[in-house]
């Protein structure tokens, strides 16, 4: 079992309301870690040899050098231009009402669905009933639209089609070899209804992409690791902890290699974004006086979005606004997780770990609004404010989310009367599974499993699986 926390800590974390402290003093001994590394390396080569068909080229990987680290499903719409991906995300801080995201959460849903109301409270743009749509709700896929202004609105299907078109264009830009992409194997969540599936298909059709095959996301994740061909594997649990939702699926693999979804459970209101929101709230509450001053200055100055965006872009930082700090909190999460993982690895190799949670921290600066007495638009008049967050603070702030992250596992197994010991493999999917805390919690649920399947980039696993079944 790969666990960076001892059982007591984890149990305390799961079953108590008081925030538990993560300590790095209970790391594996050097000998154990050495074995872990060896097995890791062997496992790595096992994958390559047992699944030779994984000759998949990830466009995302290749574009890392071009700062296209992730293709974010955010879109900003203006009357003239449509920005998709990283470009849109960069403008998110300053154009929050014009930046649409989470379209997948409402695609194909009815306007009176509870998830619509939930999304309304989470996003800064308007989510409304499309009054211009047809009255027949069963055949109308665009009942919900996102509004930036009263006259300017766009449906989730259109947003998805823009994202898809952007992906295809990106592939063509990457290499002329991929300029003739016209069809796709797609992966959709297992719990999608017929209408949601049809709406997704409509988005692909609108983007000019022919759908040749539809896979369920947990199935694709299992295929990516070649578990359908691995001997002795019958039951697989796919733990998909993405940015917006948490989905847990139990798969059964028949001896013929057919994969069925036996049960699925999840938390549609829990994702990586919630960690960012909580941390953002914590930072805003901690620096309350500072933020109040910012808001006051903001009201007084009435700065145009473009001026702040321009200055923030020039100085490579986020503005010290509420939206900006929420965006920064995501970077805090990523950096803390990376530091924590690196520290665990290096300290285990050396055999000693001296640093404590309070000593692991990250710092970032944000751009303050200019003082009210200065009227110049010069970016140099803006000052910066440094925010610091320790690992102890982070774990304390997010402690309420950890018990929720393992509840769907237990529910899914209970639904089919299975015990955790019946699971042969666990596949970790989604960016949030990079957090060492989450990996430790999942490992604790399945003590019989030696190692979680985390070798493939969790953001790419589903797409790998989808691409691996292309004939």
């Amino acid at each position: 079992m790969v666990s960076f926390l001892n059982s007591t800590e984890l149990e305390a974390l799961l079953h108590s309301d008081t925030p538990a402290k993560f300590s790095t003093s209970n790391l594996p001994t050097p000998t154990k870690l050495y074995e872990h590394l060896i097995s890791d390396i062997q496992h790595y080569y096992d994958i390559v040899l047992s699944i030779p068909n994984i000759s998949i080229q990830s466009i995302k990987d290749q574009y890392e050098s071009l700062k296209e680290k992730a293709l974010n499903s955010h879109e900003r719409r203006t009357p003239m231009n449509v920005y998709v991906g990283t470009k849109a995300k960069k403008r998110m801080d300053t154009h929050s009402k014009h930046t649409f995201y989470h379209s997948k959460r409402v695609i194909g849903r009815s306007h009176n669905d509870p998830s619509i109301e939930e999304l309304r409270h989470e996003v800064p743009f308007h989510v409304q009933h499309n009054l211009t749509s047809e009255e027949d709700e069963y055949y109308n896929m665009e009942q919900v639209v996102f509004h930036s202004t009263e006259s300017d609105y766009v449906s989730p299907i259109t947003i998805s089609s823009h994202i898809l078109q952007y992906l295809i264009d990106l592939a063509a830009q990457f290499s002329p070899t991929y300029s003739s992409l016209s069809s796709a194997v797609i992966a959709i969540p297992a719990e999608f209804t017929v209408y949601q599936r049809q709406a997704t298909m409509q988005a692909f059709a609108r983007a000019g992409i022919k759908v040749t095959r539809i896979l369920e996301e947990p199935t694709a994740a299992a295929l990516a690791y070649g578990l359908d061909q691995k001997q002795g594997v019958e039951h697989v649990l796919v733990y998909d902890f993405g940015g917006g939702t948490l989905d847990v699926s139990v798969l059964r693999i028949s001896p013929d290699g057919f994969v069925d979804v036996m049960a699925s459970s999840g938390d549609s209101n829990l994702g990586g974004v919630d960690f960012d929101t909580i941390v953002g709230d914590y930072l805003l509450a901690r620096d309350e006086a500072f933020m109040l001053k910012q808001e006051k200055d903001d009201d007084h100055n009435g700065l145009p979005e473009s001026a702040l965006e321009e200055c923030a872009a020039k100085r490579f930082m986020h503005p010290c606004t509420e939206t900006g700090i929420r965006t920064m909190s995501e970077q805090f999460k990523i950096e803390l997780s990376t530091k924590y993982s690196d520290l665990i690895e290096s300290s285990s190799l050396s055999g000693s770990l001296e640093s404590k949670d309070d000593e692991i921290y990250v710092e970032q600066s944000c751009l303050q609004h200019r003082p009210s007495d200065q009227k110049s638009n010069d970016c140099s008049t803006y000052t910066t404010h440094t925010l610091k967050l320790t690992l102890a603070e982070y774990n304390s702030a997010t402690s309420s989310l950890y018990p929720r992250s393992v509840t769907p596992i237990r529910k899914a197994l209970e639904n089919i009367n299975m015990a955790p010991s019946d699971i042969d493999e666990v596949v970790m999917v989604g960016g949030t599974t990079r957090m060492p805390q989450i990996r430790s919690l999942v490992s604790l649920e399945f003590p019989q499993i030696q190692e979680l399947n985390t070798e493939i980039d969790p953001d790419l696993t589903v797409a790998y699986g989808a691409a691996s079944v292309i004939d």
């Binding site: 040899l49 466009i59 293709l71 992409l181 694709a220 974004v273 691409a467």
Partner: protein, 210 residues
């Protein structure tokens, strides 16, 4: 029924005899004229001029000036053309089936290696926060050269490539259809059936005399 007269038949026979005699005489004359032209030593211009004056239309003056053996060369060219046109006598047409086999073999090899031309299908994960597109590489052999390569597969593919290389040399040398497949087949059998690895250059050299 009416019968032809006997006189008429006699006349026709005589006419045919006289025609054949005249043809023979003409042939003799022609042969004597051609024998008059010297074959070993170059003719003098005066003689040529005199000869041309006496010659009939079918021997041109220019041909005689350029080469004394012009007529013979023409005949040779005609013979060559006939040989080329006749597929039973070999030539390029005989290699075509072999070339066809080669093309089919190359395509089969590429297909076995996973090459399917330009990809038209991608795997797409339209996620909530991130979307990813994945495309299979055009060829599985594209893995060669990366750190993830399986050494066994690399050796195998390298051997096959070398086999093809030596096979083309062999084809260029021998022009014997059918026989060129022997080193390839033997290599394949050794590697895949008998699981014996013999360095390809050595194996190909064994077949080189063919």
């Amino acid at each position: 029924m009416c019968r032809p007269n006997e006189d008429d038949t006699k006349h026709t026979k005589e006419r045919s005899k006289s025609r054949s005699q005249s043809i023979e005489q003409n042939d003799k004359e022609n042969s004597s004229r051609t024998s008059e032209t010297p074959s070993t030593s170059p003719p003098e211009t005066t003689n040529i001029n005199t000869n041309t004056q006496r010659r009939s239309k079918f021997v041109k003056e220019t041909n005689l000036r350029k080469s004394p053996n012009g007529i013979q060369k023409k005949k040779k060219k005609k013979k060559k053309k006939k040989e080329n046109d006749n597929s039973n006598n070999g030539g390029i047409m005989s290699i075509l089936p072999s070339l066809g086999l080669v093309v089919v073999g190359i395509f089969a090899f590429m297909a076995k290696r996973g090459f399917r031309g330009r990809p038209t299908t991608a795997g797409i994960d339209l996620g909530t926060t991130n979307s990813v597109i994945c495309v299979q590489k055009p060829s599985k052999s594209g893995m060669i050269g990366t750190s993830k390569v399986d050494p066994a597969r690399f050796v195998c593919s390298l051997d096959l490539m070398l086999s093809f290389f030596f096979f083309f040399i062999l084809l260029a040398k021998t022009h014997i259809s059918g026989l060129f497949l022997i080193p390839i087949i033997s290599q394949w059998v050794l590697l895949n059936v008998l699981v014996i690895h013999i360095p390809t250059p050595l194996l190909s050299l064994l077949w080189y005399p063919f």
